[in-house]
Symmetry: C2
Subunit: 190 residues, 2 copies
């Protein structure tokens, strides 16, 4: 029987992942054990923020299991291409980082081949992979104490707003005479 993920059984967590992420992605399932491990090792159960080092999968594990979401600003997502996340005290930056330790994956062949993409997706045994993630229950994870750099703790207040003479929408006046979209960063075909 698999270990719990915070207050959920592994099976309950899989259902929550399906509902939110649309499918039981191995990365979100492993992410659940990562959040669980980080949470258990937090220096204090105070207010904490979260940081994911990849946009893939991990942000959804954090958003499902903690109060931290992208939209409330308590979760920061950067892309270092590393499968790692941190929970840290909002005021001090001190916290814990959990990562996949490749040197501990040898006992978990399905997880290892998924993680290193060494097998074509259609040759993966999805059920065996999910079972192995539940059995391992994070046995291949590493944990570090970290202190998040100050730039991730600054609260960026938006200052005053203006109406952009280009698009007639509201934007942070500090961005300049036009909003960033009208300055050329618009994500749409003109």
């Amino acid at each position: 029987m698999a270990a719990n993920i915070l207050s959920y059984t592994y099976e309950e967590y899989i259902e929550r992942v399906r509902a939110f992420h649309s499918y039981a992605a191995p990365g979100v399932l492993i992410g659940g054990f990562m959040v669980d491990m980080a949470y258990r090792h937090l220096p204090e159960k105070d207010l904490y923020d979260a940081l994911c080092e990849t946009p893939k999968c991990l942000p959804d594990a954090v958003q499902l299991l903690t109060p931290c979401t992208v939209g409330n600003g308590w979760l920061t997502v950067i892309n270092l291409g590393r499968f790692a996340l941190s929970l840290y005290n909002k005021s001090t930056g001190k916290g814990v980082r959990v990562y996949i330790d490749p040197s501990r994956l040898d006992g978990w062949p399905e997880i290892k081949s998924w993680f290193f993409k060494s097998r074509a997706k259609k040759e993966q045994d999805k059920k065996a992979l999910l079972d192995q993630i539940g059995e391992a229950a994070g046995a291949f994870l590493g944990l570090q104490r970290v202190e998040v750099a100050g730039r991730f703790m600054e609260r960026h207040h938006r200052g005053t707003f203006a109406v952009c003479p280009g698009c007639a929408e509201s934007y942070p006046a500090a961005d300049g005479a036009l909003c960033l979209g009208c300055q050329g960063m618009d994500p749409y075909v003109p």
Copy 2:
């Protein structure tokens, strides 16, 4: 009585926002009407992706009401400082953009003063603001047809992975001899 937000009443949606976002943020509530309007005007009910032009609040409305999340890659968040979102066809990029139209806010003084931050937070009447958002039901929103630029539709496949000689973690080999973290982008105090 307020209009519905997709299949939810306004009151039901407020409860869902509280559970996910931790509090009934006006921006996520308005975001609900924005997603609802975008969804009703989608050219076709095909597979679509989402884009938010601000990380504030809107990503949570999208994640609560659509299958698009940050972690599954169907939601892109950029920061143009504009309170706008788009839903668009995954293959063609064609879709709709919904934004707050400042010229239509005059009938909604609580929303206008919240949006332009023209009143100190402690002087806001939170209940009046939430009621007005429900009454307005998106009456102050604008809608545009858009085509999202190709760079937001490319699927970035990660290629092969390597073990970083710096941190001994796995990273995309295309990033170089070391992972981006060990190249100096590490978010932690050394």
